[in-house]
Structures are given as structure tokens and as C-alpha cells.
Symmetry: C2
Subunit: 367 residues, 2 copies
């Protein structure tokens, strides 16, 4: 067996006083105590995770923190989206008081994107902001949700409507945790990996294409390289536009239609990654319809999505509902919403005021 | 009558991309539409205030906004601290959805510090942050709460424990609104004015001393000058330390003991300003006890507080409870809490690890 450190990648995120590092590699969770200690934060902490994740990784994280002399409270949160309820945030603020957290303390999120969103929001708002550590154990969490400081909870009438930008102080992506993900969840996370390649980096897109067999086999070396590559791409965007003023909207590629499909189907029919895959298929078709990209660019995207087992057809939901959901997107500003489209692999363009008829025709194409 | 604009003062707060301006003067509320429009924000807005404040100033603000083509929703919040409950924040998020606010929209807080704290927190967290406008109608709001971006709601077990730093885009301090404040509330606000003089600016302290008769008579010209002076001092501190990393703690002068007194008496016995006045009396005595300042410095502070009708004695509450409340102060970091003390008028020093016996003796002195 190769030593763990040989596989460890470190990605700096340069955000001035809010800079931090992302560590990617198998076994990363066991180093959280040492890394957090190196930041000179206070010794009190609160760890949040769901029951299943705690059973699997809780001991590793607790031991690592305890070896570094941290005093760690724990809060078990509901699994999945149920964690992102205001009532859970309220329990988490209470748990923070109980654990005696002060402004020098840390809140750690262990698990998927939902616990990260919740714990990040609590860390952003407890005492107007305490240190936050992301310990993502899913592909989606490692390449997307854990990086960039977007945190949120849901309102019964709108997902992610209440939140804050609050950068983590530290992100530890343990790629060994990906080995135990259910196949559907693993594949779904790869939708964001592919998205990064499409709009940001043609060479990375080619790397993912070339790594397909190893990715399917979840080879740890390949996983670490691909995850680290995605982290690097996302970090680069976040560094240039921390609060989604302009450039960061590129990360929304495939999400305008994808998110609307999730809303219309009550988040029950597709995983987030599957909806994003359909959204990418839609965006690729829309770019073609608008004469922004040719058919070959669309084909490349569809082929890679399909090769990892993600859907590119089957979005047979009523177009008016989808258009309505798009109109209520959080990224609408004073009534306008840009579509992110890809003229070629590795590039993007923002297109405003896309005619509804074009979106409707696109939806028919991915139905 | 002098024209309103002749009395208008504008104070810039330089915080890079988060810079904004504070307008101080009688009639300022009537200009909110024009000023907000000048910032190029979206045309949807939500106005929050309690019933009494809405009855008094709602029409002026609504008309001003409407003349500038804003479409304004309204939320009536409970009076005083009751506004700062999580349930009210939840209603406000809902009202923001109902009013169709998007990321380019604005939330306006009209009234005292509590509605500003609540509305600021909602503006900080709705869609991860929308534009926020402070329209403070109290002395405390105008010289302190509305400036600097501190927002918060309460938890049943701890005040202001949930919040965010979120700078306003605009602050309009209508000094004519101060004419209708009840005497006790008016005087209480002056505690923060005096605090600014003590720790930040001896000349301003002397100005306040010299303006006493005019301040007691609530002369609009004097009020505008004194309020603007306090805004300028607070803005200077916020510019140098936006997120209370170090310098900003100076604004906590008189608040360590003052806040503990409020906690111990359940916020029922003294107004915030009265508790701060007692806290200033305590800090002045503590500085003398520790040999940091001489008796004359303390006397100057007591005299000015007493001249505006604020208490400097009568804090007869059990010392152990006060010490306990101090130990749980939000500004404790990894177990340590600095006292802000004034070696002379216009200067300050942070003093760590003050012996409990000294605090106890100080409390006896202001009992």
C-alpha cells in the first residue's frame, strides 16, 4: 500500500483574510485535528453529522480532534434535506451554546452537502460567525458544496432561501470515503465534475474522459486526482468572485433547467446530480438551437454524461411548470436570469433574455 | 425656518465594495427614495417597523419610496426586543418571498435598534444577502445600532447570539424624529454618545459637555451636529475593524459590566443606555482601582452622565451573578475577555485578566 501522504493534494483558496486550504486524499479525515490545530483556533468545537455518517466516520474524526486537544460537542442531524430545516438550525444554535462555543471555536460538518449547508449557516450566524470546517464524504460535497462558502437552509416555500456566504477555514476531502457511496449517489456527484470540465477547462474534461474506467472502478489515485482537479477549478472561480456577483454564475451551468426540474418534481424523482445532467443536456441543446455551439459540442457532453451512467433524456415534465420555476430562480435579478451556455468545451457565455419558446423547445428535446 | 438641506450632514463609511453613506438631519426620512434610487438597486423592497413607528413615519417613507418608483411590501413587527425572536425572522423571510424580493431588492428597517437588528439579520440571510437600509428614529439607533453592520436576533437563552455582519447600503438619520422620543429613551441614547467621546475623542467629549443645554432642549441644529459627530467616530472604528477582530471592541466601553447588569436583571430594570451608564461608571472606577486612570478622569465621566440624567450608582445586584454573566459575554475568546478602560478622556486601553476581586470591589462602588 502506498503511504497516504503520497496521495495527498493541497489546494489553496486565496481570499485574503478568508483564505483556506482544501486537502484531498484517502485518509484525510484522520488529519483534521492536526490541520485545525495549525490554524490557531480555540479548543472548543461542535461536530454535526447524521446518524449513519457518525457511525462510519465519527470515531476517526473524534480521535483526530481529541489527539489535538479539542473538546468536541456533537449534534446528530436528520439525514438529507431534512437537516436543512429552521428547527434543526435552532437545535444547532442551542447545541452551540451547550457546548460552550465562543467566537474562537469551530463548527465541523461531516457528511454530504446538506449537513454542510446547515452547519455552515449555523457557523455563519452563531455569534455572528465562528470557524467552520467542511469534512465532505460525498463526491458532490467534495467537488462542489464544501468549497466556496455558500450555506443555506430551506423555507417550506423555497429551497436555500435563507443562508449566508461564510467561507470554511479548512476543507478535508477524504477520497477513501467515496468508496462506500451507493452507486447512484457516486455517479450523481460526477455530474458536477463533468460540469466543471465543460465550462471551465477542456483539458480537465479530456482527463475525465480518459479516466472513465478508473473512475468507474473508483481507483483511489484517479479519484484523488479528479476530485482535486475539480476543487482547483471551483476554487479558481470562487477566488475571482466570492459572492456570486458575476463570474461565479458559471458554476450554475446545467442548474437553471436542472434546478427547475427538481422543483417541479418535488426533489423526489431525480438526485441533484441527475437533474443537473438533464440540465446540462438541456443547456447543450439550447446552445445549439441558439447557434452558439454546434452539434459536436453537445454530443461530447452527452457522451460523457451517459458514459458515467447519468440521464440525458426523460425530462418529461410540463414545460409551463418548468418555465415558472426558472422565473423564480434565486439568481433572477430585477426580473432577468442569464443562461450559462458553452460555445465549446472549456468555455462559457452568459445569455440573457432567452425566448421562452426556445426553452420550451429545448425541454421537448430532453423529454 | 432654515431649509432642511442646510442642516444635512453626510458621513461616508469607507469599506471597499461595502462602502455606504450616513445622512444626518431633520427630514432625512423624506429623501430615502431618492438616495436609494441613486444606488441602482432593484425596485422591490420590504419595509419593517412596529405599529407605532409605522403610524408616525410610515407615510413619509412610503411616499418617498413610491415617488422613486419602488414597489414596497410592509411587515409590522412587535415592539422592542420581542421583534428579535426567531419566529419573527421566519415571518420576515416569508414576507420577503411574498413581496417577490430578489437579490437586487432592499429591506428597510424603520425605528429603533431592535427592528434594525432583526431586519438586518433577515437582509443578511434572505437569498444569502440583499440590500439593507437603516432608518433609525432613536438616538441609540442613529449613533450606534444603525452603523457598522452588526445584526442579530435573540435565543431564549442568550441575547444577540444569532446574527451576522451585514453592512447597510444606506443610513438615513432623521434628527427630527428625536423630538418625539420619550425623555427616558432620549437620555438613554446619550449614553452611547458620551461613550464615543470618552474612548475616542476628547474634543467631541468637550463638545457634548458644552452642548448640554441645547441637547436638553433638543435643539435640532445641535442634535444634528452631535449625532453626526458620533456617527463619524463610530464609522472611523468600523472602517478600521469591520468584523470586531480587535479595535472595534473599544465600542464595548461600559458594555462589559453594563450588559452583565442587564442580563442579571432580565433586561427589565434599566434601559440599555442606563445600564451602559452604570457600566461606564464601573469601568471608570475599575481604571482608577487598577491605577490606569486618576480620579479626575472618572469624575469627568460621572459628571457628564449625571448631567444628562443617567444613573452612575444604584447597581445593587449580586456580584457573583454579574461575574458569571461577564464570563459568558459574546466577546470572550478561548476563555479570555478584555475590559476596555480609559486612561484619559479620548483614549482607551484593553486590559486582560482583570482579577475578579477588582471587579467585585468595583461593583460595590457603583451599588
Amino acid at each position: 500500500m502506498r503511504p497516504v501522504d503520497a496521495l495527498l493534494e493541497t489546494i489553496p483558496v486565496a481570499l485574503g483574510t478568508r483564505s483556506y486550504r482544501i486537502h484531498v486524499g484517502p485518509g484525510a479525515l484522520a488529519s483534521v485535528g492536526r490541520e485545525l490545530s495549525g490554524l490557531g483556533v480555540g479548543k472548543k468545537a461542535l461536530l454535526m453529522a447524521d446518524r449513519g455518517v457518525l457511525a462510519r466516520y465519527g470515531a476517526t474524526v473524534r480521535e483526530s480532534l481529541s489527539r489535538a486537544a479539542f473538546e468536541v460537542g456533537e449534534l446528530t442531524v436528520p439525514e438529507g434535506e431534512a437537516a436543512k430545516a429552521l428547527a434543526v438550525a435552532e437545535r444547532a444554535w442551542e447545541a452551540s451554546i451547550d457546548a460552550g462555543l465562543d467566537r474562537s471555536s469551530s463548527i465541523l460538518a461531516l457528511g454530504g452537502g446538506t449537513v454542510g449547508d446547515l452547519a455552515g449557516f449555523v457557523a455563519a450566524t452563531y455569534m455572528r460567525g465562528v470557524n467552520f470546517v467542511q469534512l465532505p464524504t460525498t463526491v458532490l460535497g467534495q467537488v462542489d458544496a464544501a468549497i466556496g462558502g455558500k450555506t443555506a437552509i430551506n423555507h417550506p416555500r423555497a429551497k436555500n432561501i435563507v443562508g449566508a456566504f461564510h467561507q470554511p477555514r479548512l476543507v478535508m476531502c477524504d477520497t477513501a470515503a467515496l468508496l462506500s457511496l451507493p452507486e447512484r449517489e457516486y455517479r450523481s456527484g460526477l455530474a458536477e465534475v463533468i460540469k466543471h470540465g465543460i465550462v471551465l477547462d477542456a483539458a480537465y474534461f479530456a482527463d475525465v474522459e480518459a479516466s472513465l474506467p478508473a473512475l468507474r472502478a473508483r481507483d483511489l489515485g484517479t479519484l484523488t486526482q479528479i476530485i482535486a482537479g475539480s476543487c482547483r477549478l471551483k476554487a479558481g472561480v470562487v477566488e475571482r468572485d466570492e459572492q456570486e456577483a458575476d463570474l461565479r454564475v458559471v458554476l450554475n451551468y446545467g442548474h437553471t433547467i436542472g434546478h427547475a426540474l427538481e422543483v417541479v418534481t418535488g426533489y423526489a424523482r431525480w438526485t441533484h446530480g441527475e437533474a443537473v445532467a438533464l440540465g446540462i443536456a438541456g443547456a447543450a441543446r439550447l446552445a445549439e438551437r441558439l447557434g452558439i455551439a454546434d452539434g459536436a459540442v453537445r454530443q461530447q457532453q452527452l457522451q460523457l454524461l451517459e458514459a458515467v451512467g447519468l440521464p440525458t433524456r426523460g425530462a418529461d415534465v410540463p414545460a409551463p411548470s418548468v418555465l415558472d420555476a426558472i422565473a423564480r430562480d434565486k439568481k433572477v435579478r430585477d426580473g432577468r436570469l442569464p443562461f450559462v451556455l458553452a460555445p465549446a468545451i472549456g468555455t462559457f457565455r452568459l445569455v440573457y433574455d432567452v425566448p421562452a419558446a426556445e426553452v420550451r423547445a429545448t425541454l421537448a428535446d430532453i423529454a
